[in-house]
Amino acid sequence: MMSKKAVLASQEARIRTILDIFAQTSRLPIGIYEKQNGESVGIFASDNPSLYEEHCRYIQSLPGGKAKCVADEKRRAKEVREKGEEGLSICHAGIYNYAVPVALDDEVKAVILYGELRLAEASHEKISLEKHAEAVSNLGLDAEQAQTLKRLLAKVKDYSEDEFAHLQATLPQVAEWLYRIFDDEEKARYHIEKITHEIQTRIQGILNAENLLTEFDELKKYDLKMGIHGIINSAEALATVVNNLGKFQREYRFYRQRIETLLIESKRIYEAEAKRKGIEIKFDLRPVDGNDAHVELSRDHLQLAFNNLIHNAIKYSFRGAPGRERFVKVRGRQEGHLYSLAIENYGVGILPEEIAEGLIFDENYQGKLTDGEFRTGSGKGLFFVKQVLKEHHGTISAFCEQKSQGDSPEGQPHLVRFIIKLPFQQPAR
């Protein structure tokens, strides 16, 4: 993984490239202020003094002048960030810049300050001259320096509305596009870290088998058997995590099979984990015409889908304890030409809007309530499950009911139920 410092350096290099292109084509100075670790950090086009008005260069050549300009720009960038509105921003010495906040999802990521101008309009000119007088005093200028500064202020170009309208039309969009890329990259980086965490956790489960070797002579046959089961289960759970990434799936091959076999397999993989959490996995699978239910399905895929659903039900269940029994229930029955399965648990809930808008089945989406007391997963599982069911011409829907009252649903127990409907027979392909 790139370190945060390396990420920022790469982003700054790309921002500077855009700023250079803008400065070279518009011949205007430009800077972007970002908030990094609570500080306002300025990034500027490559040093080209000719872009700046003589007025600015003169102030910056005076003792303490540059520091005052830097502090003033940071202050103004902060003002624009807080207001979130683009418009004119006047500097401490009477020159206007155009200021544009770059916002993504209602959050201002940066503030662009560009151009140096005066405006012929009387009220603007009055403010310019007042600022000029303040600067003369603040910078401790003598009469000759004050006169020079006033002469240079008068030379600053007065931009027409058309000139600025042209600039306004391009730069903010480019900046927004760039920050959108940074935002996506950040999400991807964090996502990879989470998947790594999931995978390494399962590998840890396998490495723990080292205990079997060190304790081999003392172990009973039963303990050895359970230990080996532990290794196999961890490897199978690891395969589910990797397959959820979607890139390692085999082709769909449909055969008529006993659905209970797949559910028992999922139970076997996650039973030890459930047991440690004080949760029992219970099945209530009703026969179809007096026999076990047989459904035409692609075994590898549906197995992974069931693994995901049963593991989620365990992961997001509240812990069991003496006198507080916890279950993951799997109920199955025939509903006409469909086989219906309900997988339910008692624990962390799903918000009504996440269900109504289908968000929980979106790739990389993580339920808001799982951010509370429970760490989220990789955000791949339910997306994968939905894809698998679609291939089977089946459906999946989620239901959630809050089981106790409280100001916030976070931490309150919910009954969560996923209902799957699968046709017994696949349509001809």
């Binding site: 945060k4 840890q204 490495l207 088998a209 205990n211 060190t214 961890s234 007391e373 760490r375």
Partner: protein
Amino acid sequence: MSTPKKKIVWIEDDTDIINDVVRPLERGGYLIERFYTVKEALDNIEKLRACDLILLDLIIPPGTDERFGHYPGMHLLRTFRNDFHLQQPVIVLSVVADAEVFQDLKDLNAEIENKPILPSKLKRLVEQVLGV
């Protein structure tokens, strides 16, 4: 008179899956107390104060959060050191591989070990840190 058993607090949300990683420590007589979330650890601060060593994961509930950033474990460690002045040795077990995160952990006087880790290696590391 027998030596009192060393107490270790393990802050990790995946203990249901990786519980056996501390088995050699438990067999070696160490007492392990498990906490699963930032909140649970902070609610039990006196138990942490009384322990001999803390094993800490960086990615623990509540996950990414405005207050804690991506690594709630880091926030927790900072709180232990700065607000509660806990001086115990801390071993961070994590998959995070960011040089700046490592530096922050070093600054907070933590030992860092990548996950996954062999249970025997963890025991050796704990004993090395405790000077046993």
